[in-house]
Amino acid sequence: MRNINYLTALLSLFSCLVLADNETSDLADLDFDELMQIEITSVSKKSEKLSEAAAAVYVVTEHEIRRSGATSIPEALKLVPGVDVAQIDPNKWAVSIRGFNGRLANKLLVLVDGRSVYTPTYSGVYWEYLDYLMADIERIEVIRGPGATLWGMNAVNGVINIITKEAADTQGGRLSLAAGNELRGMAEIRQGFEPAENAQMRVYAKGRSLDESLDLSETDQDNGGDYLQTGMRLDIQHKEDQWLTFQGDLYRDDLRQQHTVPGFESPYTNRVVNGDIDALGGNLGISWGQLRGLDSELSVKFNYDFYDHQDLKYSERRDTVNFELQHQFVPFNDHELVWGAGYRWSRSDAASSSIISIADPVEHSDIWNAFIQDTIRFPEQKLSLTLGTKLERSSYSGTELQPNIRLSWVPDQQLTVWGAVSRAVRTPSRGESEFILNVGSAPPFTLDPSDPLPTMLQIVGNKGFQSEWLDAYELGIRWQPQPVVAVDLAAFYNNYSDLRSYNMGSASTQVIKGETFLVIPLELDNNIHGYSQGLELLTTWQAAPGSRFRLVYSIIDINLQDDAPSASAVNPISTVAGRTSEQLASLWGSFDLSSSLELDLRLYYAGERSWPDSTVSSYIDGDLRLAWRPLSSLELSVSGRNLLDSAKQEFIAEPWSVPSMIERSVFLQGVLTW
């Protein structure tokens, strides 16, 4: 409650600051000598097409990434409107949009340069395996709400599109070194060059070492991590109308983690075990594009992607190939048509462990899709109508249709009002359809005082598990009342059906690792339905040429209902809904103290999260970054994270995790370019 009061005070203080004047003289009548004296600001570098988009879109620019001091992608997503980012332990993050957060949040699709990095094994994203050079990211497009018509399955509550720079924009060299207490060390190097005329290339490498976090009794955990990633990009412009891109990345991560695993022998209690996560992965992509006239663009993309993940719980090697074709053109005046088709094939080879058992190690899956979308403009009414649908078929589910209809009204440059109705689907993961998970154990006589057998709780995959569905209704307004103030407000109502539920099956005696257990199975089913509703607000204010404020607030209310509740130890609804902070708020001030000195202060709030047997309290915390550029080729900075508490817990991951406290972090960084 105290936190809420504090937040209210903060908001009112913010709003009573006086707005800057807006001068409206005709600049075109001034001459160069005068024009060159005018100070400029970089208020909005957003692509204007996005400000008219009929969707809740936010673009994290390279400028924002740099000024946030982010050393990884989840850090760059912190404070983005409507994005809930919580750190689980030094290596793991929970990131989601519009609720349903988790270590593997299954309703958020994430792409890097159009390549999906969402794993179909567990439905989610391993953020730790996306260790790109932050300086090579051009922008991160964050779409709240369904994006299934264009991006396909699992783009249910949102899409995050990470777009790296073209090689031409990363010419020359860049070396960055950082050291601190939590980020123990980081080294990044990149070199860009022109192998031929009309061809640009870059190669990069990045290494990071992360310190351990604390457990709830404030003792060091054994969960640090060492990361290594390298990659390249080659862009070739061929004639006036064609381009070709080759991209590749390779990573190797040696991480440590703590898990809580069931006790397979006396005394059969769950215990904490330390272990390695060894990950190796990479991808290779070729894309080709052609302009077929002013209003017609054709592109073809091919990717190969693999990862090899090994830890105590499971090992998996997955190989995926993906092919996509897209054609955008103007068939008639005021119509913009885009259509495309794609095919993905994937092979997963997973090994059982004492914790996860898998009947058939090898599984092949494939997905094909086709989509079409037309944007029709009505210039007189200042309206723009988008109609589209995707047809998709995967081996985990049948054929799914994911349509959307969007309308935007842009009466003038200052105002956009939009609305959308769309449908999206979250397909079953491999884990949900066939894995058996030993989630936890209990000693004899604890659950049932008369039973002499130890108990094992199992989650049992179900081949009959179906897709989850969403029908989403959205309404938004973007308004720029003055050149220095912009407001973006979005409201949504999400209607979910067939969400994952657990049916407690009848207990049976089974021998696991040579010991007899009373096994209580939780079988996956689709009995949960319900809705969520919420508001997301973003306000930016350029208070002066060198000071900019950004205020973000979001609130969500989730109401789910289980049609076949069973008296299980795990209540699936509270697990899903409670993990989400009902309210998120942040205030980010960016100040150019002089032409070579930058200061960024970020204050943020996250509401309470609850689990069946524990809660993570709400918190207010702050980040700071001070950067000095003594030469145009050198930048020195000091960054602080989570400065207001020495350590705090932000999240609890899914089964088997051990809660961690994330510590205050400070690091120094030097960046040299040539």
């Binding site: 203080l13 001034l30 160069f32 024009l35 400029i40 097409k49 040429p545 207001l644």
Partner: protein, 183 residues
């Protein structure tokens, strides 16, 4: 419950956030896009087109704008102003043939894929081509608006300029950032 120390730390942090803004209070802000449009108008004023460009003194100056965006909208305000004694008509080319009428051409950065293609459609020797994107010069454009030290400046691709019949005034070149072969 916040301990006294933790609360003080939060307050201090917040005060810093607010005061940093005051240190910075400075004069009124112009929309960057307005300034860009003013720059383009001034550049055109200080540029000489070949004598054969206009058949009659009543001919209009076609300022072409490709792509949509705030700068493109802002350029509409140049309508009916005078460049080289000719009235400005701001025009959005809709098909390939329209580009042949342009005297000056601004391309919005959102259309960066089309830079080369569009530049292949114009009469390269007599069109002042401008954008506000570092990629533009590399793809064959003449002028790029850049932000430098909180001021707006512009780069001119000298090699490309020498291949045209356009003459930029010495005043213009003096304040420009000259780029020979941009990377």
């Amino acid at each position: 419950m916040l301990r006294g120390g933790a609360l003080r730390l939060r307050l201090a942090f917040f005060c810093l956030l607010i005061t940093a803004a005051e240190v910075n209070s400075a004069p009124a802000v112009h929309a960057l896009e307005t300034l860009k449009a003013a720059y383009m108008y001034n550049m055109a004023k200080f540029t000489r087109w070949p004598a054969s460009t206009w058949d009659s003194p009543d001919g209009v100056f076609q300022f072409c704008v490709y792509g949509s965006g705030r700068v493109a909208d802002e350029l509409q305000t140049l309508h009916n102003k005078k460049i080289a004694g000719h009235s400005v008509v701001v025009q959005k080319p809709l098909n390939e043939a329209d580009f042949r009428q342009c005297h000056a051409l601004y391309i919005d950065p959102s259309e960066h894929r089309r830079y080369r293609y569009i530049l292949s459609l114009i009469n390269r020797s007599a069109v002042l081509t401008i954008s506000d994107d570092t990629r533009f010069l590399r793809h064959g454009g003449l002028i790029n608006l850049v932000e430098k030290d909180q001021r707006l400046r512009f780069e001119v691709n000298m090699r490309r300029l020498s291949q045209t019949e356009l003459k930029l005034s010495s005043k213009l070149l003096k304040i420009a950032i000259l780029v020979d072969k941009p990377r």
